[in-house]
């Protein structure tokens, strides 16, 4: 187990190295010139060229890469080409929002969708199962932005219950913090809940059809014992995989929700950076996301040993 852990941690180094190279090269071969965007629409080509030189964007790509590597080796992610602020500070400002949004969405989704999926799988073919699957199909089909606007229309504009947009840190008060997150979390969670409920249902049905479950029934176990003692733990592996991958996706994929509810998260930072060709931010955010992905994958793999004793590393 420890040897496996060490191997996996060491494997992070080449993965991150490959990410650094690919991201650096890809964004520079993509069309777009930060200097032209920085200069503004009325600037002459001469003014744009001066900015390009001043920012070192006229240097050969390998020189720029060397400078970047040197910065990384010293623990620096660089400064934004546009605002001039340190990338680490920009990421730090946004990380709280995205982390809170992703965590609460995940928590809410798991608490709602896993029991729903279990119930649907257990009561397969009944009205409970059918209702749950209708919810899953509807939830999965609803575009996030459309649901977001619908929630704003109903709960903010018509009922005046919740704010339309923005984020409040917990230090600004518990209720403002919660109130600003209810709609975004629900809007983001619906699609994810649908996915999780379907996977949980399918897994539970699959497990309930296993030979060992039939054996348990033959030995006189009750429905409740079969479900909670024998079935659920074995059904957990695919569900945990989905939850883990879902967390990684939520971290980076909340951009639509962040835009609709004007939440200053990492998703919006990334999209703005791509549109503005802010190379240093794109590099920094991608590096951080890649690292988080690797760590989450490692944790998922390790969790398998808890749910399924047959898995050994």
């Amino acid at each position: 187990m420890i040897a496996y852990l060490v191997r996996r941690i060491l494997a992070v180094i080449p993965v991150m190295g490959i990410v650094v190279v690919i991201v650096f090269v890809l964004i520079r071969v993509s069309p777009g010139d930060p200097a032209a965007i920085i200069a503004g629409d009325y600037a002459t080509p001469e003014a744009v060229q001066k900015i390009r030189v001043a920012m070192g964007l006229d240097k050969p790509i390998y020189t720029q890469f060397w400078i970047y590597l040197n910065d990384l080796a010293h623990g620096r992610l660089g400064t934004s080409l546009h605002s001039g602020l340190p990338v680490i500070r920009l990421i730090g400002q946004r990380a709280e929002v995205t982390a809170v949004l992703a965590f609460l969405t995940l928590l809410f989704s798991v608490l709602m969708a896993v029991p729903l999926g279990i119930l649907a799988g257990w009561k397969r073919g009944t009205w409970i199962d059918q209702s749950a699957m209708v919810f899953a199909v509807v939830g999965f089909s609803m575009p996030t932005f459309w649901l977001g606007f619908l929630l704003i229309k109903v709960f903010s504009i018509n009922l005046h219950w919740l704010p339309v947009q923005g984020y409040r840190s917990p230090t600004e008060g518990l209720w403002p913090f919660i109130a600003h997150l209810i709609l975004p979390v629900f809007g983001l969670a619906v699609g994810y809940m649908a996915l999780l409920a379907r996977i949980t249902r399918a897994t539970v049905i699959d497990v309930l059809n296993s030979d060992y479950i039939r054996t348990a029934y033959a030995k006189g176990a009750t429905h409740r014992t079969v479900l909670f003692i024998h079935a659920l733990k074995n059904a957990a592996v695919p569900v945990v995989t989905t939850v883990g991958v879902g967390l990684a996706l939520l971290l980076s994929g909340a951009v639509i929700t962040e835009s609709v509810f004007a939440l200053p998260g990492l998703g919006r930072l990334t999209v703005d950076a791509v549109l503005q060709r802010d190379y240093t931010i794109i590099q920094g955010v991608t590096l951080i996301f890649s690292f988080v992905y690797v760590v989450i994958n490692l944790l998922i793999d390790l969790s398998y040993t808890f749910f399924d004793p047959r898995i050994r590393y």
Partner: protein, 533 residues
């Protein structure tokens, strides 16, 4: 013992209730905070570094100018108290107002002014023209500076009042002596009506400006960028809301007070709401730019064909919908400004595909692909490009309409060579636009310059037009001006650096039930505003 426990319990409960109350209610916001949703997020805090409109708007809060342009378009003293022009119009002596000071408490001096004007003049076309005619620009004492010219120049005050592109904002000398090719180093310190704290700035989310309590406004009423800059709110908060529908909902709920770019589809709904005031603050010209270095548009006949094939009303309808939102205009430099008493562009009024096709043939066009670039996320730009592509096609031109994001377009438009297998980034046409103030000022408007290699994208090259523009600048304020303006326009109509396709209104909206005093200006100005609750 029991009583003591009960008392402790009651006290504990009271403290807990108070703490919960505080926790649940949150921190109270500042009473007089004016919240606005700006058109974009500020990226750069140096007004001489970029021409981005949002940096300009930011700079008007934090910095000040020597002159402002009033609502009638006339330059008026702002930081300047009085000025004197010698009889030969070669020497200008300016005296600064008393009480001007930087946000760090130090006084504004003429050394700051001289350094700022030199820095601005290194970037801005109007500044470059002014400095090219300058013999000397120097501080006489802390409050006085002097400008000596080689020859009389009618645009001195107008240049110093310039309200767009690079604006001659006055910076502290320590910032103004740094190169304008990079943002200055150090935290921004202005002398304008608001201070800006970099520490509170969350890029992409919010910017907070605090009232500068030591700012001394002028006594004249506010007008355009001139007059008194009175501040009646404690702070201005810019809230970045990327989605216009969310911004409209936030305005409806009172979470914000002002939208700089309201959602076009919701304008009628907002007009019908008695709490809202919708006003046309800005007018934007749209323009079609051909690459004049490569065939077919290196030939003026091909550019004339563009004028013949476009339908200005159709394009404006695509951009702004209802005709009450736009005005077809068939002249360079607009139809309502001080340079509008001139001839229309031949062929632009009235669409004629056959004539356009004939002109293209005369230009040597034989059906080669014509690359038109359009930016999908820029609503007006994309609407024009789509309409234009259809009109070009109907004139028998083989158009290759390429869509991309604005970041790609602004990088590709710098490519001079013709598109082809070895140069996939090349282009023939793109569309853009500008507000009325820049688009009606031929000395400052980059797009209209005809200075060949030094000209804006599309590289217009007409030495005669350039010379006549210089002459027009000299003739400002003289009896020769009108004739000079006609001559310059005749040059433009003959050369066709670009094709202007009219002007449309850009609206803004605010909550009139809580806010008053907003100056309805082309760029948002944040002084004079009162908030009632």
């Amino acid at each position: 013992m029991y009583r003591l426990r009960a008392k402790r319990f009651a006290m504990g409960l009271a403290v807990l209730t108070a703490a919960m109350g505080l926790l649940l209610s949150g921190t109270q916001s500042v009473a007089a905070t004016f919240r606005a949703v700006p058109s974009a997020d500020v990226k750069y805090l140096d007004p001489h570094f970029t021409t981005a409109d949002i940096t300009l708007t930011y700079s008007y809060l934090v910095y000040d100018t020597l002159f402002g342009l009033d609502a009638k378009g006339e330059p008026q003293p702002q930081m300047v108290d009085k000025y004197d022009v010698s009889p030969d119009r070669l020497t200008y002596t300016f005296t600064l107002r008393k009480g001007l000071q930087w946000h760090d408490g130090k006084p504004v001096t003429s050394k700051d002014v001289v350094a700022s004007l030199k820095r601005w003049g290194s970037k801005d076309s109007a500044g470059q023209r002014l400095l090219a005619r300058t013999v000397s620009l120097e501080a006489v004492n802390d409050a006085t500076f002097r400008l000596k010219l080689k020859e009389p120049y009618g645009l001195v005050l107008r240049s110093l009042a310039k309200p767009y592109s690079y604006i001659p904002f006055i910076l502290p000398e320590r910032h103004a002596t740094q190169s304008a090719d990079k943002p200055f180093e150090g935290d921004p310190v202005g002398s304008g009506p608001y201070t800006f704290s970099k520490a509170e700035w969350v890029p992409g989310s919010k910017m907070i400006f605090h009232k500068f309590k030591d700012y001394v406004p002028r006594s004249e009423p506010a007008s355009g960028t001139a007059g008194a800059k009175n501040v009646y709110v404690d702070q201005v908060e810019w809230v970045i809301i990327p989605d216009p529908a969310t911004a409209a909902a936030a305005l409806d709920r009172g979470e914000v007070d002002y939208l700089e770019v309201p959602f076009k589809d919701l304008l009628d709904q907002m007009r019908a709401d008695p709490r809202m005031h919708v006003f046309p603050a800005a007018r934007y010209y749209r323009t079609i730019h051909p690459n004049k270095l490569i065939p077919p548009f290196d030939n003026v006949k091909a550019r004339q064909a563009l004028a013949y094939l476009v339908s200005v009303p159709d394009i404006l309808r695509a951009v702004a919908g209802d005709p009450k939102n736009w005005e077809a205009c068939y002249k360079f430099l607009g139809c309502s400004g001080w340079l509008s008493d001139v001839d229309e562009i031949p062929g632009l009024r009235g669409q004629d595909y056959e004539k356009a096709a004939q002109l293209m043939r005369e230009a040597g066009y034989k059906g080669e692909k014509v690359v038109l670039m359009g930016a999908t996320e820029m609503q007006a730009n994309y609407a024009i490009s789509v309409t234009l592509a259809s009109q070009i096609r109907k004139a028998g031109i083989n158009v290759d309409f390429q869509t991309m994001d604005w970041g790609t377009l602004v990088s590709r438009r710098g490519i001079k060579e013709a598109p082809g297998p070895g140069n996939p980034g090349g282009w023939h046409i793109f569309t853009t636009g500008a507000g009325t103030t820049p688009a009606e000022d031929p000395w400052g408007y980059a797009d209209i310059q005809t200075t060949c290699e030094k000209a804006w994208y599309g590289w217009s090259c007409s030495p005669k037009t350039t010379a006549d523009l210089e002459q027009l600048g000299k003739d400002v304020g003289t009896p020769r001006f009108k004739e000079s303006a006609r001559r310059y326009h005749a040059d433009l109509n003959e050369y066709l650096p670009y094709i202007p396709v009219g002007v449309y209104n850009a609206y803004r909206v605010y909550r009139k039930d809580v806010v008053s005093g907003i100056i309805e200006n082309e760029y948002s100005l944040y002084w004079n505003i009162r908030k009632s609750k």
